[in-house]
Symmetry: D3
Subunit: 188 residues, 6 copies
């Protein structure tokens, strides 16, 4: 039966509202064991002139981009080796960590590290999980399987991976990667 | 400025409400770039006699347990080799997958698999991420570092890991594990 | 999906609230073709000190009795010839009309009229319909079958009837009766 | 003081909303003895994108026709012997019962039954009562006086009648009729 | 944290709503020691067809003029000796009282009284205070300093004054004036 | 018709709520020309565990004292020459100004100034006006008539006065006084 009412300054797109509907519904489901169809969400939009704090009107803000889409786009750009585009999606203090790398700070470092390891790698996705942490970052997980070619030209596929991203203000601030490449190689 | 009002049948504990406050706040933050302190959540509890659907009173349901706590308890039980307790937290259709294992269905299978790999392993946590998926499962991620002893008695530490759990109706239905053990061994 | 919220001064019994839940649900159903279970009603009770008009607290009022129950009790009293009790439920300006009587104002008139028509009559009910009119009166319909004895001692049963009552401020102000007694007699 | 708030998907006409205002007001009046002008109703319309159940948008439905108007139109069609029109307003499982008829299922049966009883009959209305029952049917009562001509060409007037209709999904499913025709004839 | 929601028939201008935002915020601040920026006001406008009392739609009314602006305009008209304009802002039962005058009812009386006292006077404002009294009148205070010329042509300035106005239905019904003119003269 | 809903953390006394009811009603009346009895105020109290900002519970604060009562008590203390009590109600940066005094900062200065002017003075009140300014101060006006004795023992009465107070956080920060004493003396 839970009913959620959200009062928010107007200006959100239908798609952005849908993300709010879903996120608020799932927020309730985290605690209340109601079937989803028993959870109602109502969004009440307010015109600027109908909202004040301290008797002063406040500016609404544009919706944050969908962090899942952002990560998906970043991973596509990396796969296509469109480093310029990928770079544009990273924050100034971006850090990444891959198996055995320790912290890396530039895409060039990453590419240098990857070179002796594989010629290229492609990702097939089993799922994305997106959530807002209690802190600043939106956290995006994606997991699935890697396929590609080893340096010797042999191909591989079906290697499990998981990536964890942190996104702040529309920029990726952190990427952590785990996968079974070493496990597979050890058993090769 | 967003204001969230939740109307819910009474009966939730203070701690359960706090989880609702946090989850609803973060649901809004996923889309609306407001600072957390600008997001207000009001919970309005209703007595059973004050709520109806179709003119018929409905029963409220007990809160779901905190899925993060559940996973933490499960991992402690496993670390302490309290298999009975760990088993009691798994659903009948529980599946787990570790690096190189393929799907395993029993804790015994897991222990047999682990035996030649390490004498024991302990986890230090860097963080837990808990979210309700659009489907039935609550998803819990935990990540951090492994320490322990190899079969030869040498100790190891600082090996990155990440676990992904799915929890449905208070039982763990799935565990997926990634870590750098093979990477570390390959470089040993 | 319709959601009805009722804000009302506290003091209503659970049973009185249930009547509000049902009546509000059905009010919506009169216009909105939603299945009943999709119509939610929330009652928000207010303490006297939390409600004002013109900055002045107002007194809540006791619930009206269930007009259907009132009529049912009246009809039982009449059937049991407990005229004192029946009389106590009538307003000072009570009027009734039975087939062929024109307006009657006292129970004695009614009994005099009935005497040559039947020795006694009992009612079996098929249903009650209760509604608040746009005017002062709550309207109660009851319909079903009459059984009893003719003046010659022969018994009858299964004669259709319908009564329409108007109730104002807990008193019956009007009763109109239709039935098939004459039809049955004509065919006897 | 009662205040009723109705949250409903947008799309209702002004006239349909007025029916909601009236029905919700009267629903409250059935229990709370407040003067009508002390009962406030607020309708809050929601755009489709602002409402969800289970995080999924739901379709609003067109308002049900005014059951009182429907019955009035049916009775006019019957009076004008426009049987085709009248028939179109009946559900497939329509049943009617008149004094002495037992259940009839077709308008032809009714006409055959009426033939030896009167040449024609017209209705003058004293009032309509419309209410949503707890079940599927909307119930409509109309009452007033019959005038017309007996088979012998003599005219009659001022004969009390009451009709009870059940309407489901915009179709009449049941009609029950009581009147004083036999009473009047018996006294003629 | 206080949140104020105002439900009001639509039709108010942005500037009129701002006055409502400020007045409602300050009403809360009179009792609750919250910093202004912690007090949120939401105005919910209703279309005429969405509001009823007793099931009957009610007419909204035009906003009252800003009583502070009204008084300011009146004082300017008086200073400019535009008596016709000033007069148009007074109610039929207007009364004023200046130091030593007792109640005056016409602007002519005032001018006659002022003549032996000063050639002209100008006001510099330190502040306006505007509030709605519990009774019909809106009360406006303005205070500041007087400058002008004595009858002998000598100029004066910096003489403290305060005016208290009552405004009802857009007309000034009362003006009370206090100042230090006599004090200054006594010390001259 | 306006309806005001106030959501506030629980803990306010009945009397403090009444001040909120009155102040919110009058805030609306400043702009909307509705008769007071058409303005409804609903206070919704929230338990601490039902309210959060940023997912964090916030502390409610005790109500501010009634500034009108505070001023009345101060004036009584002054009239009774209970300087200790009066002093305790003044803020550290208290300033007052009487006719011809310029700014005074201590009660002793005031008493020294008054000594040659009157033996004692009593106030009869015609009315108090209390309002929250847009800034920190609550403003209290009181007006009425002075009576007392001149230094020569002659008594006086009926001399108009008005006091304006500013109150911040329960302490008087400013007092400005105007009256007709000089006017009366000049005409004596």
């Amino acid at each position: 039966m839970p009913i959620v009412e959200l009062h928010v300054l107007q200006g959100y797109e239908s798609q952005e509202k849908l993300r709010l509907h879903e996120a608020l519904t799932d927020a309730v489901r985290l605690v209340v064991p109601a079937p989803p169809e028993a959870i109602t969400v109502l969004i009440h939009e307010l015109k600027g002139e109908d909202y004040s704090r301290g008797g002063i009107h406040r500016q609404g803000a544009s919706a944050l981009p969908d962090a899942g889409d952002l990560v998906r786009t970043y991973l596509s750009a990396m796969e296509a080796r469109d480093l310029e585009r990928a770079q544009s999606m990273l924050s100034a203090d971006f850090v990444m960590e891959f198996p055995g790398t320790g912290p890396l700070r530039t895409l060039d470092e990453l590419i240098a590290w990857a070179k002796p390891r594989y010629r290229f790698v492609k990702k097939t996705y089993d799922g994305f999980d997106v959530m807002q942490s209690r802190k600043a970052a939106t956290v995006v997980y994606c997991r699935g399987n890697l396929s590609g070619e080893w340096p010797d030209g042999d191909s591989f596929e079906g290697i499990r991976f998981i990536d964890r991203f942190e996104v702040v203000a529309g920029k990726i601030t952190r990427q952590d990667v785990w996968n079974d490449i070493a496990e597979v190689k050890a058993n090769a």
